[in-house]
Subunit: 412 residues, 2 copies
């Protein structure tokens, strides 16, 4: 089955899809059940790169309440040469203080011992409930002997182990034809709630067997995150744990030089991969039935960004999206609430290309045609502010009974 | 039945409650069915002051998409001497352009003709769906002869006519003992959705038979709005139509002088009245089962405000409130998401006085006691940031299946 499922992300013609459970040369992965979740399901994922010259890059959220694994990675890991990742679900290890940091360290040391690395070579990540101490020793025990269970075809287990409320698979493996030769690119992600437009609440691990310098990897990862995970919202809630790591084994023997044609294509593939995974997070947004894209043009860039974000996070727009309700007055409301004090503001609104508001006032449209347009799985909104030159885009999910159900019953 | 129903607003001991359908001396009110809503229910409220020397003050929201009645009031009314108010439900007359302004003017002129005033003496207000033209002539027709139906005991009809999704009565009439004599104070409000913390989405009309200069009335209304309608959130969505008007007939013969003991008490009563009405809006928040107060202390004032607002508007906090879920990790998340880049941040969280997080980390608490504390109708959250001297407060409702139901089905 193809990972591509949205008209908003196309498959680059130099990309072929592989078994999504496979990994590029030099990588193995797997999952263990450490007892963080009930019923013995996989809850700790392990990813390892066996190439000696691995390079890596990582991005983290900037919440004022950073989870212990994020703090540990930033403070103590060699982020340019990460050899392994250990990521657990079922517990965010956030708001857990010094004790939480110590628990994260136990997991890191346990994984390093089990896999034969230095602790600084092992990145840790957590996702799940906030404010509960992580049983680090218990995880370290579960990791003993994990090395022999890892496999280049077990990326699906890794992806499964890092899920929380996710219902949709979010992993893919691609073959990418570069001018310099064929490389592989894969990624495993999770994310369905507490998803906000500033480095969305998620984990994503990306692997390639291309050789890339850590500096270029960082630049490529940053650019791709900006157009993917930073452009989505399920509920406008910035997480404490967001982590994205890119690892490059170099095992393909193909080196991606800075500013080369290879790099350009690699960047395109990485962009498509992360955008598609980000869209899957929105599609898998807690309780989501429909997803939407808002594109705001005009205004200055800050205004366009703020308006797009306000629309993406408006519970009124989101419930209308859920209800298949073409209530564009709520989009007008969000525009006005964001650009306060600017009345009378001239703006246009189009829904699936149908003009509903021009120069700030309602225009005639065919209600039946509009009702049909908002009844599909993907809905596109456009807002045009006065002026030209700016463009801001967000992808977002609706607000449904399912979201309330999932989040009213999460810990109790 | 008393309007006071929350531990967060007390009845001042110099206030006695009267029949909530009554009005102070010099005022009459009523409602007509103009056909904006189905089934011939009242949908246009009319309020009139018969005293020749009426003074008034008005506040409006500052959305960039202001409704036509707000534009008309600000541009063409004598806001210091409003003699009558005509307010309709069922149609917001927002995003309706020049045509909408003309419709609002027809309503204003119709009411002025029916009541014997100049148009500039008549304030207009609308609430309901955005982006649909208001049938101004139809309303003007319905207003013919309305004068003879108005009565000093018909404030309940007026209040009914301005309701949209409101389920709870939001009007009160008080007798207020001032040092200088007894005056009356009454108000009728509406508001249940699109309620945001910057001059919340609502209409509120306040009447008194005290004599107050327009300048002092403006100051008193501004101060009371700041502590009431500007402190509440149902869904964080600023409206296009917010309007509050205070009218003083002077018919009691008691004059409230600037900076007098009379003014101090009057301000206290007005504060209690508007805070209580604001709390009723939150309690009546679309689909709301529980309401909460968040008080943030410490930090600088901007930080305290931003954190309190983020918590009040967080769908994760709101769904936890609805579920009776003591999931304080979501409060920590909202703190961190607001104060980005400040990690590690030292902050405390208390729920109903129970400490759950201190210096940024979880502390031991009795889960049964906490579960019981969040199961009541009103829940109090406290966040303490580093530092002292600041205090920010918001009242907010939960996010329930009912909110989704109401807003997914609103126009269709």
């Amino acid at each position: 089955m193809s990972v591509f499922d949205s008209r908003w992300v196309g498959r680059p013609d130099f990309v072929s899809e592989l078994d999504p459970g496979s990994l590029p040369s030099g990588f193995v992965a797997g999952g263990v059940a450490a007892g963080l979740k009930a019923d013995g399901v996989l809850d700790v994922g392990v990813l390892m790169c066996m190439a000696p010259n691995v390079t890596s890059a990582a991005r983290f959220c900037d919440s004022g309440v950073l989870a212990a694994p994020v703090v540990l990675c930033q403070a103590e890991c060699d982020l340019q040469a990460i050899h392994a990742v250990v990521a657990n679900s079922g517990n965010a290890n956030a708001a857990t203080g010094e004790a939480g940091l110590e628990q994260a360290r136990r997991v890191q040391v346990g994984a390093a011992n089990a896999l034969g690395f230095e602790p600084r070579q092992v990145a840790v990540a957590s996702t799940g409930v906030i404010g509960v101490q992580l049983p680090g020793e218990q995880i370290a025990d579960a990791l003993m002997g994990v090395g022999s269970t890892l496999d280049g075809g077990h990326a699906g287990d890794f992806a499964l182990a890092i899920r929380t409320t996710d219902a949709i698979d979010k992993h893919a493996a691609w073959s990418v034809e570069l001018p310099g030769g064929t490389i592989r690119l894969s990624a495993q992600a999770k994310g369905a709630g507490m998803i906000a437009p500033h480095f969305a609440t998620m984990l994503c691990f990306v692997e390639t067997d291309a050789a890339i310098s850590a500096q270029r990897a960082d630049r490529l990862l940053a650019a791709a995150c900006e157009r993917s995970f930073n452009r989505i919202s399920v509920d406008g809630q910035l997480s404490t744990n967001d982590t994205a790591v890119l690892l490059a084994s170099g095992a393909s023997g193909i080196e991606i030089a800075a500013d080369s044609a290879d790099e350009e294509r690699f960047a395109q593939a990485l962009d498509a991969l992360l955008r598609q995974l980000a869209l899957l997070m929105v599609k898998d947004g807690e309780g989501a039935a429909r997803v939407a894209r808002i594109q705001v043009t005009g205004g200055d860039q800050d205004q366009a960004e703020a308006v797009a974000k306000a629309i993406a996070n408006s519970p009124l727009v989101k419930t209308a999206l859920y209800g298949g309700d073409p209530n564009w007055g709520r989009i007008a409301q969000a525009v006005g609430a964001t650009l306060r004090g600017t009345a009378p503001l001239s703006f246009d609104i189009r829904i699936e290309g149908i003009a509903v508001c021009a120069a700030g006032a309602a225009v005639d449209y065919d209600p039946a045609k509009l009702a049909d347009a908002v009844a599909h799985d993907e809905v596109e909104y456009e807002v045009k502010l006065p002026g030209t030159g700016s463009l801001a885009e967000y992808f977002f999910s609706d607000l449904s009974y399912g979201y309330v159900k999932i989040n009213a019953e999460y810990t109790t």
